[in-house]
């Protein structure tokens, strides 16, 4: 069982809005891992769009991503890349 975690900065202008949250949730379902995002005192399962929207993560916020399971390391890398890549958005 792998466990890993990382902190990533929300860089895109729109923050963790509906489309970004959906992309993240889709990506989360591809890994055999429990993925949880933390921001301040709030947390959300990575595969739940509704829960991710509740984080209200706007541009400039830092989110911690914790992954547990056989695929934890790959999941963390993929999700970290997605956030760093501004969810594939232009700005």
């Amino acid at each position: 069982m792998q466990r890993c975690q990382g902190v990533f900065l929300i860089k895109n202008k729109l923050g963790l809005h509906a489309r970004a949250a959906t992309t993240l949730a889709q990506l989360s379902t591809q890994f055999d891992a429990q993925i949880t995002l933390y921001q301040g005192d709030k947390s959300a399962q990575g595969d739940s769009v509704l829960a991710l929207l509740l984080l209200e993560s706007s541009q400039g916020k830092e989110v911690e991503v914790r992954c547990t399971g056989p695929d934890a390391k790959n999941a963390l890398i993929a999700i970290g890349n997605l956030i760093e890549d501004k969810f594939h958005e232009a700005e």
Binding site: K13, L14, G15, L16, H17, A18, R19, A21, T22, T23, A25, Q26, T29, S48, V49, L50, A51, L53, L54, L55, E56, S57, S58, Q59
Partner: protein, 151 residues
């Protein structure tokens, strides 16, 4: 933010019956146009369709939040529809959708948009709330569910 303030009673429609994504978005654009007299329905529909092209607004659990941005708008227009049966909406969890919370939002205002989405998500994350929305048999009953859960 209270959902019963965001969504007015005449924008709450229970037990509607549409059988496709396009039809439901057309109906939403009709309702929205009545609230924004100086916009035309075609522009509203285009905004909604363009957003769906970027990726479905089906956010799972039978819920979708079709939305679009419209220039020159002063306030958010929010519309709640509950369809009599779940329809295909390309949601990421592959579930068909029967609850639609639609937003027409002004350009910009990104932080406010996130706040609005979070308020809606907070309510829709409650299974009991969704069940009550699905059970409402008329528009008034549907709106009263919003009022009740805002207390």
């Amino acid at each position: 933010m209270k959902l019963s303030t965001l969504i007015s009673e005449d924008c709450s429609k229970a037990a509607v019956l549409f059988n496709s994504k396009k039809r439901i978005l057309q109906y939403i654009s009709e309702l929205a146009q009545e609230k924004i007299p100086n916009a035309n329905q075609h522009d509203i529909l285009e905004a909604l369709l363009n957003r769906e092209k970027l990726g479905s607004t089906g956010i799972g659990k039978g819920i979708a939040i079709p939305h679009g941005r419209l220039a020159g708008l002063d306030n958010i227009i929010a519309i709640l529809l509950v369809n009599q049966q779940p329809i295909p909406f390309d949601a990421y969890d592959d579930r068909n959708v029967d609850i639609f919370v639609s937003l027409i939002v002004p350009e910009g205002g990104n932080k406010q948009h996130l706040e609005t989405l979070a308020s809606i998500a907070g309510k829709l994350n409650d299974k009991h709330f969704c069940k009550r929305l699905r059970q409402a048999s008329n528009d008034h009953e549907l709106y009263q569910v919003l009022v009740e859960f805002d207390k």
